[in-house]
Symmetry: T
Subunit: 67 residues, 12 copies
């Protein structure tokens, strides 16, 4: 029996969606132990003056509380 | 690059949906810094004895962790 | 143990969405006893000649049958 | 027989969601003839320094091409 | 007027879905006061070597912050 | 050729989801003839003082009008 | 201001989906006055011994209560 | 590499859904070049005095901008 | 007790959606025994040079494995 | 790196939803090796003469092809 | 107060999804001023003779009309 | 007229989502002829000890049966 929590993280990167995912997960694993998975919920691009400003990813991050 | 969290808040008001939103966001901004947006996820009305008792709003609140 | 029914009501108002909700629930509570809640399912605006004609709300209304 | 188009409009107001709807529809009816309805697709609130900055509504606007 | 938070809990049991729900809620009520409801979002079964290993439930748990 | 209606029933039980389903369907079949199926739409748990108070099931019940 | 109800009808035909719609609406308008629209929610086909047995349509039927 | 746009068309016919689709696409292809597909998003029926008035189809129409 | 499988079939016809359904089901019943139902998941139209090329239907087909 | 397939199974039981799940998975693991999980997609109840006839579960079953 | 429009763009690339996004947004910003964001709605891959032919992205592009 | 089947494939890669897609499609085209497209249904990341373990993609793969 195990109990986990699921929380939503939104992160951005000027490089790519996968860089946004990596940075968001690096930040999440700094404060949360036991992160086991992330489900990509939304992908967006922000633009400014006709150029891509950043890639944004919203993800549902699961981390185990007790095992 | 920035990382934000998204959390769900449910709040009620005897006045209106927008009053419920304002009160929920006032409460959220008391304990969370960097709240940038709220997405209205659900709107409900509770009744008692044939009268509206309160308006309830569930919203997904985004607040920035690092910028 | 309790059993309730859920029925969909659509109501309109020339004033606002909340007025449409109030009028729809007043009508519903005239014929149904035990209405406990309404979930707002859809909000629409009808226009005519470039002006708002009415606000329309569809809501799922729950009323208790036995308690 | 009639043919209509549906287009998505996003509008904001510092006052309320209904003010955002009214302003978005005023803008839409300036350039589009035959607007008959708007379906509210999303409602968001933007915040800055812990205060509501504006209310944002995304709506699907239907306007008749031929009748 | 009241404000509540909604958080997602994922829990597993070797017995049944309802046992997974009970254990997840026991764990949640150990650290959260004012839990009022849980909405079952997803149900999964994990298998190993052709046998059911555990039942997993993801649920959205609401707990009151202020009343 | 046959025509049926679909109506939503919400029922609760202190025992389990399946007990809530059985009780809701017993109540439905007391007043409706020709019930052929129920689709489970939502499952919720209500809590009080950290304990499960009841299991709630919302279901779409189909009953035949003419055959 | 007007108030309407929305109810779900399921009907079948050995001919076609549109015949199922027509028959379901004929049946609905026999007992309900003020039917204004039907939204097609689901379309299914039932088969027996490798042949189409009937076409089934589920539709949300709106009928005006007060105008 | 190619870029296309997707726009929503709503059309009606007193005959059938497929006639509504044909008429909507005839109208769309009069003003848009390079229409490649249409995805049926919604089907509705409008009634008046207990009779079917028209069949309505909403469809997402894709047309190529550059190829 | 029975066990069935559900598989998705996509079929096209130059005639109509219902012809596409019939042809898809004829093909499915050639290789699968015990097909009991098909749920219409998506309907599309393909165009070429401003004319309808074919009607496409995606359907979830259920066939019984053991009874 | 691994590749898996996901297939939909529908199974019924006169006892309970969990018995339907167990029987469906027993049947699936007889012909498929490497079944790792099942996601519960739909739960239905069939009735006859006012009594529950069986519980039906539709589930998406994942089984590994290569690891 | 501001008003924006949201339009759907579909673009393809032989390289990758992000290349498809970049090319679609380059094309969109050639004719639309004030593009602020794009929400990724769908991602598809087209194949030919067992090889990936192109990556396709459908995105909802928002551009400001008045500010 | 053509008939196709749609099946769901889940594949993983330690590199990236697009590598997972490529590997899943390579595997699919080894046993299935006539694969024409894949729709990306879900994207997940698995983590272990605070590091990304693999990227997982679930996709709906369409392959033509008869043409």
């Amino acid at each position: 029996m195990s109990v986990a929590r699921v929380t939503e993280i939104s992160s951005t990167s000027e490089q790519s969606f996968e860089d946004a995912i990596r940075r968001g997960l690096e930040r999440a694993t700094k404060t949360l132990r036991g992160v086991t998975s992330a489900w990509i919920k939304e992908q967006r691009v922000a633009l400014q003056d006709g150029k891509i400003k950043h890639y944004q990813v919203n993800m549902q991050v699961t981390f185990v509380l007790d095992e």
